[in-house]
């Protein structure tokens, strides 16, 4: 049995002590973090103990200091703008004493919640790639290719030096439109024969954006079809509005 010395009393945070979720949309890497009461109570009495989250992939890392543990609010969003998406990103959660630099607690190599559900591989909801020769862009800087496995966001290769992800105008103008186009395709154009990836987008809208009311698309005909279209359109518009609010797109416009 291997023995490890732990002279400093460092605590190991276990998977059951926290929940870290990643939003899979095309924004800088967005996560939400929640800690159990045990962790919050355990460090609330330690003066100055701060909560820190680090995201890392290959040789790149970014840290976010979430402030004193005692004042941490569960479900707080944590944005890592150095990463455009969550593919292959792992996380470390630390509780540190900034005065002495001592590590009070550590959770290393965290795979975000949901990643293990698919055999340990995180699948992107919206892969991004430059348009190929066969993709007809017609001068547009972005377009969506709808495939069996997922929709793919295509970007104009001739503007490859342009920082799409961090450009505020692109985010302001394109992101709501991308979400609307994808939802319209899956839930309106393909009503009754939704693509299999539609369920993950429905989960995203319901769980992350908190917009319920996605209509059922069985037995669509006559007035049922008309009602379905009305309900789906309202659901989509509400989803796009909430998405824009959550991503503070209004602040960019001002």
């Amino acid at each position: 049995m291997p023995y490890r010395f732990n002279f400093t009393g460092r605590r190991t945070l276990r998977q059951s002590d926290f929940r870290l979720e990643v939003s899979e949309l095309l924004t800088p890497l967005n996560t939400t973090l929640s800690l159990t009461g045990d962790v919050l109570d355990g460090f609330a009495g330690v003066p100055g103990a701060r909560l820190v989250v680090e995201a890392y992939r290959h040789n790149e890392a970014q840290r976010r200091d979430l402030g004193p543990v005692a004042r941490f609010k569960n479900g707080s969003p944590v944005v890592f703008d150095r990463f455009s998406d969550g593919a292959h990103v792992l996380f470390r959660i630390k509780v540190v004493d900034p005065a002495t630099r001592r590590l009070l607690a550590l959770a290393p190599r965290i795979r975000p919640f949901g990643a293990k559900d698919r055999g340990g591989r995180r699948e992107k909801m919206l892969p991004v790639q430059f348009a190929g020769e066969n993709d007809r862009m017609g001068g547009q800087i972005w377009s969506i290719r709808f495939e069996l496995e997922h929709p793919t966001l295509l970007l104009d290769r001739s503007r490859a030096g342009f920082d799409y992800v961090n450009d505020p105008k692109f985010r302001l103008l394109a992101l709501p439109r991308i979400l609307r186009d994808i939802l319209l395709y899956a839930f309106v154009l393909q009503a009754g024969r939704r693509p299999k990836w539609a369920s993950s987008w429905q989960r995203f809208v319901e769980d992350r954006l908190g917009v319920d009311g996605c209509p059922d698309d069985e037995n669509l005909s006559g007035s049922v079809l008309e009602d379905y279209m009305d309900d789906a359109a309202k659901w989509i518009e509400e989803a796009v509005a909430v998405f824009s609010e959550q991503n503070k797109l209004g602040a960019i416009a001002r």
Binding site: H58, A61, A160
Partner: protein, 263 residues
């Protein structure tokens, strides 16, 4: 002469592999074959947006090379090309081997009077974590993107030396997440091992396993500190510096390094 950027197709990469194999077998290079391959439209595709490079440019160091390629490609596009899956699985974007072939004369070193062609992974970018830090063109660009924020000393330490040589310092550091992911560790490594006046811009015997305070020792110390202490910001490098064990004394200069770097 200015040339429009191109990228090897899957067939082009196959041709390059064959050419490298012949060079190694015959123990010599075939200049006309390298020049033909980089210009052959059967094996290369234009990159689309008409960017151009000067194929006669001589690079004084890997730093000069990386700076030039980044000025042509731009940081965002270069990052995207480094992450690209490429025409053949596991080989990255075809532009990187194409650039190696365009500047092949500067990539090939001389050993005992003979041309040294170098391993395939130095010409064709491997996407595997262990192998990708060997490429003549992609690795300097990738390092430049990672360490540029740490100032000219860091760029010199990581990218000093000729294009044909891969320094032990940059290779060891780039393969260690403990250093590359941690600004405090990276800054401390530069303070320890950079030497402005040296030809290769590095202190001597930093990779020797026999000498104390070498780069591998540094990684081991970081791993030990990582279990008990929390260092991350560049400012934390000052604390890390003072906590280093005696083995590193021969690399600690008399001056205090942060007087210049962190002002």
């Amino acid at each position: 002469m200015k040339r429009t950027l191109r990228a090897f197709t899957a067939e082009g990469i196959g041709e390059l592999k064959a050419l490298l194999a012949i060079c190694r077998e015959e123990r010599k290079t075939f200049p006309e074959e390298f020049d033909r391959l980089s210009a052959d439209e059967r094996y290369t595709d234009p990159l689309g947006d008409g960017r151009e490079i000067d194929d006669e440019r001589k690079f004084s160091s890997r730093l000069d090379l990386a700076g030039y390629l980044l000025s042509v490609l731009g940081p965002s596009y270069a990052s995207a090309l480094l992450e690209s899956p490429g025409p053949v699985p596991g080989t990255g974007h075809g532009i990187w081997p194409w650039l190696s072939v365009v500047y092949w004369r500067q990539c090939i070193g001389r050993v005992a009077g003979r041309d040294r062609v170098g391993a395939e992974k130095r010409w064709i970018l491997k996407t595997d974590f262990r192998d990708r830090n060997y490429h003549y063109m992609a690795f300097p660009v990738s390092l430049h993107l990672s360490v540029a924020d740490f100032g000219p000393d860091a760029l010199e330490a990581f990218l000093g030396g000729p294009v044909s040589e891969n320094s032990a310092f940059s290779h060891e550091c780039a393969s260690r997440q403990e250093i590359m992911q941690n600004p405090a560790a990276l800054q401390t490594a530069v303070w320890l091992y950079h030497a402005k006046s040296a030809k290769k811009k590095l202190r001597r015997r930093i990779a020797s396993q026999k000498d104390p305070g070498n780069i591998r020792n540094f990684v081991r110390v970081l791993q030990q500190f990582g279990m008990t202490m929390d260092f991350f910001d560049r400012e934390d490098a000052k604390i890390l510096w003072t906590m280093l064990p005696k083995a590193f004394n021969r690399f600690k200069q008399k001056r205090i390094p942060w007087d210049e770097d962190l002002t």
